[in-house]
Symmetry: C2
Subunit: 275 residues, 2 copies
């Protein structure tokens, strides 16, 4: 029996309204965008401030209960890194007074830029991109085994296999100094834009304009450069797992950007809103 793709519920706060046909709700699509993004942006209400807090953090989707779960399964988001004491302290609060949910309500965004889409008119310029947002409740991880699971998950997201290649386990002082948040996901959505520019018919029929303006896509991808040893490195050669990751990551990133610009979006059958 074919496995059903799990989807996040379409909540009023999570439903893609503008260009709704680009909205995606499958867990696998959303989790893939999050896990391949080296930096997430996390937002939460900041008590006493008129402005929400927003900060870059490192995070990964995973399941401590079932570490073999795949990307399309129900997963938690583990956040780590530049954890301000504010987000950690707020996540220790027992419950959200409004919703009776435990944990701090957070919104998490991951966005990949895949191309500059250059059209005949500024109006139809756009980016090729993959964007995901998750909404959930963050709590501080207190169980040592779960904390170690999340630290390994996040470290290996930077370079696969890196955790086991370093001095582990962390000392008790290192464990104490590190905070990990587990976000229980309530909803999420993704938006993906691909393809070449699509100008209006009137501009595409303007021979003088076509003769003057270059149209197409500049693919964009992240590049990892050659690893450069630090001041106390003693290894003459870059280890295989690291050299391989640099090569594979670059090849995959470039391939995706090129595939994205060649993938023409399916348009909804009736819409006047076609950029």
């Amino acid at each position: 029996m074919p496995r059903q793709d799990l989807e996040y519920p379409k909540e009023p706060f999570s439903t893609v309204k503008r260009k709704g046909h680009r909205g995606r709700y499958e867990l696998e699509t959303i989790h893939q965008i999050i896990n391949s993004c080296p930096l997430l942006h996390v937002s939460f209400a900041a008590p006493g401030s008129p402005f929400p807090a927003i900060l870059p953090m490192i995070g990964q989707m995973g399941s401590f209960e079932r570490p073999s779960a795949d990307l399309g399964d129900v997963l938690d988001l583990y956040l780590h890194g530049y954890v301000s004491s504010r987000i950690v302290n707020l996540s220790r609060d027992p419950a959200d007074a409004n919703t009776n949910e435990k944990g701090l309500p957070v919104s998490v965004a991951a966005t990949h830029l895949d191309g500059l889409v250059l059209a005949l008119t500024p109006m139809h310029h756009s980016y090729n991109y993959r964007s995901a947002v998750l909404f959930g409740h963050a709590e501080v991880v207190t169980d040592t085994a779960e904390k170690l699971y999340a630290m390994e998950l996040v470290t290996d997201s930077v370079v696969p296999g890196r955790w086991a290649a370093t001095r582990v386990p962390p000392t008790p002082a290192e464990m104490q100094a590190t905070s990990v948040l587990r976000v229980r996901i309530a909803a999420g959505s993704a938006k993906i834009h691909t393809g070449p520019p699509g100008d209006d018919r009137a501009d595409r029929d303007d021979a003088a304009l076509l003769a003057r303006v270059w149209t197409g896509v500049v693919p964009v991808h992240a590049t990892l450069g050659a690893p450069l040893p630090g001041p106390y490195n003693q290894l003459v050669h870059v280890p295989g797992y690291l050299a391989d990751y640099v090569a594979e990551s670059n090849a995959d990133a470039e391939a995706y950007a090129l595939e994205a610009l060649r993938t023409v979006e399916e348009k909804p059958k009736t819409t006047a809103d076609d950029d």
Copy 2:
């Protein structure tokens, strides 16, 4: 007389607390990070939702009153792009009830990843990065001349000179379909991390560990690929302004990532918090 560097005020919500010595408040530093970031993340309170809204948008700092202002001057942030009707509608509200300020309180983050910093222990792994956050009040731009100024500013941030190379000005229908927000900035800060890994003395003195673990930095930068023509492009050659931008952008991005990893941070004189 040397010009004084302008700084944003250190408000309780904008002051860098963790690794405070990395906090930067000069307008020029912050505006530079924002203007070189192809995607910003914008957050605001979403009425009726337990979670703040967060969305990727395109934006640029500029001054409609004084277009020749430089990056270190007082500037507004113009936002454009994937403007959901929600953020535009909320920005039309006359005033924030709590602060009596006009406009929607928004927080805007821009982050560049510059390197993977690989240390002897997971604890001291980090990223080289440049991160900026601005806090301000967003209002919808209604003046046509100001809207055109902002549309050109944003289009030229994608590829310098692109606006004038396309079919402009926009038609009245195109102007109608486009929303531009002007964010009046109340405060902001930046955080910059550079340099090679810095492990604890005990690990750096462990000869067996040094013999086993590669340490250093993998530089990371965005790459613009070769421009690929779209289906109705008629120009045989990529125009000079575009080819030049691709080449310069790649050279600058790679140079920054390499410079970042060679720049050792000044550490505060007294701190136990040195990763």
